[in-house]
């Protein structure tokens, strides 16, 4: 150690202050450990708080508001087209983010988690060097790696901070509302952000390499969304790839290769939403026993342990479904394991939500996964056109489906498309985790008139008789 270098010791070092990192730090502190949290940014919160979940959902709420106002025309209330104040939008988003961020920082303080701003690089399995910080070194007994992920960019296409080619980070900055926006990638990020810009007035073109939007989501759930998006987006081009992007001061020239040949078009802005990649390079992991896979994700076991006995990992850095709630649970498991508890990541129904309009939410086994596993399942669908509540909200284009074991009726998965499915899916998650039977879901009372009734009725179809839909000839 060089004279004058500041070095500290800690019991648990958490690297990364996103949902995985701060959840781990807080849980560990609650369990009595001495915790140090190192975060690259200004404050804890990670991508979720600053450049992901929170800003996007803040804007999506407003996008839905704009669309609802537009649709009210057919229902007897006519609003004039809205005046969009982008600065106002940004300020509002900033307010939301800052409020949450202050909350997190305060929780850190109250729990005596030592928060250090800087970039950690491993020197060995017990020590990191800290860059961009007054403190030079941290010795730790245990570490939790929670450095997260970042958007994938296209080769040879630079994404500059104020450039016209953006990733989700840039898109959420909302510098302006482009007249034309090219969204590359038909996954949930592209569709969500594309929906925001479309609601604000952009003409949005979505290109997707595969033959469907939201690959991995059951097609019957995507279909109502696709129908809606066809109306609000200028074009959806499937089986189309971007072969080049050329940015100039006022626009971006794109060459698209699709089914019908090659298309050259100009867009004011481009959003690249083709996936995320782990932040595992430049961390000095080669000085530890941590093992990564071919794509750079850190390999962990059910206790979040890596190949190195002193280092655990949680969140996007470990791959799988890149979701904040997965990250939070993993962070907690890691903290508990270090505290000596027999904790494990033991989740049977991971919920996922696409916040478009209509929303899609699912958990547990999907129909597609059941087919791939060649597993016999019983699927029952309740179309929302039979739901009184859905009709009263003008949300009849929706579907609730339950995937169950054909013998026991045990609920294996739930999929919903429609309005407010983000909240409805929680019942499905609970059902799958508890090992509940379709019978259980059918026997609990769902308030009327609510969208939750669609879950009860879908379950009733299993038992052969749902009230608002004719029983099928075959016995369930």
């Amino acid at each position: 150690m060089v004279m004058g270098e500041l070095s500290i010791e800690t019991e648990l070092l958490v690297i990364g202050g996103g949902p995985a990192g701060y959840a781990a730090a807080f849980r560990a502190a609650d369990l009595g450990l001495d915790v140090t949290l190192v975060e690259l940014g200004q404050a804890p919160g990670g991508v979720c708080l600053f450049r992901g979940c929170i800003p996007s959902k803040t804007y999506l709420h407003l996008a839905q508001l704009i669309e609802d106002a537009r649709h009210a025309d057919a229902m007897g209330i006519r609003f004039d087209p809205p005046i969009i104040d982008t600065r106002g939008l940004r300020d509002w988003k900033q307010q939301v983010v800052e409020r949450l961020s202050r909350g997190l920082s305060s929780l850190c303080r109250q729990r005596n988690v030592q928060l250090i701003r800087g970039r950690a690089v491993f020197e060995d399995s017990r020590r990191v060097r800290l860059m961009e910080s007054e403190i030079r070194r941290i010795q730790f007994q245990h570490a939790i790696l929670a450095t997260g992920s970042r958007p994938v960019t296209l080769p040879d296409v630079p994404v500059r901070k104020n450039g016209r080619v953006m990733t989700s980070t840039g898109a959420l900055e909302l510098a302006d509302i482009p007249q034309t926006l090219l969204v590359i990638g038909g996954g949930y990020v592209g569709l969500e952000l594309g929906s925001v810009y479309a609601a604000l007035g952009s003409r949005v073109t979505v290109v997707e390499q595969s033959d469907r939007l939201l690959a991995g989501v059951d097609v019957d759930l995507v279909e109502p969304l696709r129908r809606r998006l066809e109306k609000i987006f200028a074009r959806i081009l499937l089986k189309t790839a971007v072969s080049s992007l050329q940015e100039s001061p006022h626009n971006v020239k794109a060459i698209l290769k699709g089914r019908d040949g090659t298309l050259q078009e100009t867009f004011e802005r481009v959003l690249i939403a083709v996936g995320r990649t782990p932040n595992s390079r430049g961390l000095g992991l080669e000085h530890t026993d941590v093992v990564r896979d071919a794509r750079g994700f850190v390999i962990v076991d059910a206790g979040q342990r890596t190949g190195d006995e002193h280092i655990l990992a949680a969140g996007d850095i470990t791959g799988g479904m890149l979701l904040a709630h997965k990250a939070t649970r993993e962070g907690k498991v890691a903290a508990e394991v270090i505290a000596g508890k027999p904790s494990a990541f033991d989740v049977r129904a991971m919920p996922a939500v696409v916040y478009t309009n209509p929303q899609i939410a699912w958990c547990g086994l999907t129909e597609e996964a059941a087919r791939a596993q060649k597993r016999a399942v019983s699927v029952q669908r309740f179309p929302w056109r039979f739901s009184g509540r859905a009709l009263s909200m003008d949300a009849a284009d929706g579907l609730t489906k339950i995937i169950a074991d054909p013998d026991s009726g045990r609920i294996l998965g739930v999929g919903i498309v429609g309005r407010e499915t983000e909240g409805l899916i929680a019942e499905g998650v609970l059902a799958v985790e508890l090992g509940a039977l379709a019978e259980d879901l059918a026997l609990v009372i769902h308030a009327h008139p609510t969208l939750s009734e669609t879950e009860g009725e879908a379950a009733e179809i299993f038992l052969g008789s749902a009230t608002h839909i004719l029983p099928s000839k075959r016995k369930a």
């Binding site: 390999i299 059910a302 791959g319 799988g320 033991d346 991971m350 060649k374 090992g435």
Partner: protein
């Protein structure tokens, strides 16, 4: 799709059985219903039929193995192909990087049809107690494992004075089959000894008798009945009944006499529910008959004795005793009894004290009938001594539910009916 066949719950608290024979081999094509294994429980030999149609890909047991309810016996390939398909992926999001199964045991194998159904809190409990969910007998609906199941498996009981939990040694119950353990001396110090394992019926009997004797305050009332008249009735009709395929024994008459008394004294046909502080009166009359077999004491049950004629009972009892002695009696026939009759008379004994067949509350015993000198009062009032056929009878009661006076009254009624066959005719339905 690969499916596994686990030892199903056989009822009557049976948790462990012995495999007698495996009737199939790996590679065999099996149809639903075909016999897979022969097993022996504490009470009976049972054939286990296949629940699936498919090809046997794995047999995990062999003759002589002791297996527990819930253990996997045979694995099938349901598609009929000769090779097993890959088991379905664990419920983890894909594409997840490989997760070495460090804590997979706590999640439970659950056979090849998915994870064991259990709530998150139960799974956490299982992890903490080091219990493999796949080995726990589920008591929840459709095979769900509850927290109670996990605790019971780990050796904990909910009562405050329970023995300390046995961590990760789940296959041994806390008590031995014969009751709480006491240290025995080394008998070989004094001479040669031979150890015989406590198995099957003997083991079950040891456990049940210890429990019944320690929990129930037994009180017995005895009497002797003049069955001279009954015996001559029996002799007169013996041949007819034999022709019908039955054996007209004193037990048959006792069954009818006892049933009539049970109708008049419903608390003898009941069970004590101490937990809920109630006596459960049964409105059906299923009488168990104690049968001595070379393997031990077995009690098959005759159902609805009140609605069967003496002829019916004679035939049924004969069949049942034969099946029981041949160890062919089904488990179902050993269950559901409300009262028990035990006749030790055929071996020549006069009196013996019986242990109540828990959870019943009374047991009726009969000894050997003997010609005895009895004082008989003639019509003119003069007493004289006659040789009469006297049958010793006794009723043992659970004094928590019944009192001495009840016992005497019950016995008097049975005695009255056996002493006067015409009364038997009038009082039975």
């Amino acid at each position: 799709m690969a499916r596994s066949f686990k030892l199903p719950d056989l009822g009557e608290g049976i948790r462990e059985v012995e495999v007698l024979a495996v009737m199939v081999s790996v590679g065999d094509a099996v149809a639903e219903g075909d016999t897979l294994l022969e097993i022996e429980t504490d009470k009976a030999t049972v054939e286990l039929p296949s629940p699936y149609t498919g090809t046997v890909t794995e047999i995990r047991v062999k003759a002589g193995d002791r297996i527990e309810v819930g253990e996997i016996l045979v694995v099938f390939d349901g598609t009929g192909k000769t090779h097993a398909e890959a088991p379905p992926a664990r419920e983890k999001p894909s594409p997840a990087p490989e997760r070495p199964p460090a804590l997979e045991a706590a999640q439970g194998g659950g056979g090849l049809s998915g994870p064991v159904p259990a709530s998150p809190a139960t799974r956490r409990l299982a992890r903490e107690l080091g219990v493999d969910l796949g080995l726990v007998t589920p008591s929840g609906p459709s095979g769900q494992v509850t927290a109670e199941d996990v605790r019971a498996f780990a050796g904990q009981t909910p009562t405050p004075d329970a023995p300390p939990p046995a961590a990760a040694a789940p296959s041994q119950p806390q008590d031995t089959a014969a009751g709480p353990m006491t240290a025995l001396p080394d008998f070989s110090r004094w001479g040669t000894v031979e150890s015989v394992p406590l198995r099957s019926i003997r083991r079950a009997t040891a456990r049940r008798m210890a429990q019944a004797w320690s929990q129930i305050p037994h009180v017995t009332s005895e009497d002797a009945v003049d069955i001279t008249a009954l015996e001559s009735l029996r002799q007169r009709h013996k041949a007819d009944i034999e022709a019908a395929g039955g054996r007209l024994t004193l037990t048959v008459f006792a069954l009818k006499a006892v049933t009539a008394a049970l109708r008049a004294h419903p608390r003898f046909n009941a069970s004590l529910d101490a937990q809920n502080e109630q006596i459960i009166l049964k409105r059906y009359y299923h009488i168990g008959v104690a049968v001595d077999t070379p393997d031990g004491l077995i009690v098959p049950v005759l159902r609805d004795v009140d609605s069967k004629s003496i002829t019916d009972l004679a035939v049924e009892l004969n069949t049942v005793i034969k099946l029981t002695r041949e160890r062919k009696i089904s488990i179902d026939q050993l269950q559901g009894g409300t009262f028990t009759v035990t006749n030790i008379g055929s071996l020549g004994a006069t009196h013996f004290s019986a242990i109540i067949n828990t959870p019943e509350v009374a047991i009726f015993g009969m000894g050997a009938a003997r010609l005895q000198p009895v004082v008989v009062t003639a019509d003119d009032g003069t007493p004289r001594i006659e040789a009469r056929l006297m049958l010793p009878i006794g009723i043992t009661i659970d004094h928590r539910v019944l009192d001495g006076a009840d016992a005497v009254r019950f016995l008097r009624q049975v005695a009255g009916v056996l002493a006067d066959p015409e009364k038997l005719l009038l009082e039975m339905n």
